[in-house]
Symmetry: C2
Subunit: 199 residues, 2 copies
DNA sequence: CGTGAGGTTGATCCAGGTCAAGTGAAGTGG
DNA sequence: CCACTTCACTTGACCTGGATCAACCTCACG
């Protein structure tokens, strides 16, 4: 793909976009670098805990990741693509930086609430809820690795596997093909049906 | 308590502080109002879901809540004090607004990771982890209502009650007094011992 | 063709959910 | 001052969803 400079919503010229494959590393905690805007796809963030990396957050198309580098000079979290995704460099717009940060903050808080909802309730609600979040509007997309789904929902790989199988059999979602990025789509992917984040 | 105007870290004069009791409402989603900085204590945020309010986030001393009003004009979440807390109005500093928003964003992302860690693992790790987060450095403080602890950790009230009892018996923490704001302190409250947020 | 990462499937077990019946303190109204 | 309610928490008995452990499959790739 040819290198391209983009005009994004903030009206500032950016560097070239970058494509990252499913499960691929975007940057590692501690490294130096700049912030990125996610153009398409979704990203998991992990932080280094004493017992190895622990899941720390989810970012999706439209979000900005790595903004903390403007403050600390290095990435706080490790970022990894869930399904394939496209990102572009993000720098502070000369004006209205505050306002754009405010929007970022609001999006992050919203995401936080969504993620909490993905961590209680039955296994099928959690997995369905995540898929709804990732591919809103019944779009067909590549399934993240089971490992990632498990980390995000707080379930085990085995349970995720069984749950996906059950949802498929019930016709709640359609799994086309197998492993390494199965495409998925179907009824479950309308947020209304799932994502019932009770307390 | 007399009304007082404060000079906060951003160097901007604010309105009078406000004290909120354990379990008391700070503001309700949809209401109009301004942002607040939490001077002491901690706050739970809830959002209105189809099946009633669902836990959506946690904010602690130093954090700013309700910043989304600068964007939307109204509160997105309902805020409620966990244990007693003190808050003060927060407005945008004339300069360096972007940087202070950046810090806010970083704090929110950090909190998000902390909260996720509170939602898997054994019940005692979760409850202990939350208490560690709320009263770092072994400080003695009032216990939030069991209802709140349960919502945050994704457990049931019954399990939280049993877990607190067990932690008390093991001498991991000290529960002084009963109901309506028991004071708590002890070994568990050093983050090192708990908060082992594995995936 | 061998290796390994990613996924599947089965059997077993137990932590925590659920249901149900308490208690005790604080408030309320007569 | 005392019945009555309510809120916050407690305790017990039972049951189940998902964790755990273990074996296995299958594709991609060097």
């Amino acid at each position: 793909m040819m290198q391209q400079s983009q005009q994004n919503t903030d009206g500032v010229v950016r560097g070239p976009r970058r494509e990252v494959g499913r499960g691929e590393l975007i940057y590692h905690a501690g490294e130096q670098g700049h912030a990125w805007r996610i153009v398409a796809g979704s990203v998991r963030l992990d932080r280094d805990e004493s017992e190895g990396p622990a899941f720390a957050g989810l970012s999706m198309a439209g979000d900005v990741i790595g903004a903390e580098t403007m403050l600390f000079g290095a990435y706080t979290y490790t970022a990894q693509a869930l399904s394939g995704c496209v990102i572009e460099p993000w720098g502070e717009p000369t004006e209205r930086f505050g306002e754009s940060m405010l929007r970022l903050l609001a999006a992050t808080e919203r995401r936080m609430a969504d993620m909490l909802a993905l961590r209680n309730g039955r296994a099928d609600e959690r997995v369905g809820g995540l898929l709804a979040l990732l591919g809103s509007a019944g779009a067909v997309f590549k399934l993240p690795r089971l490992r990632d789904i498990a980390d995000i929902t707080g379930l085990t790989i085995e349970t995720v596997s069984r749950t996906l199988h059950a949802l498929d059999e019930d016709g709640v979602l359609d799994v086309e093909g197998r492993r390494q990025g199965r495409r998925i789509g179907g009824a479950a992917l309308t947020p209304a049906r799932t994502l019932r984040g009770r307390c």
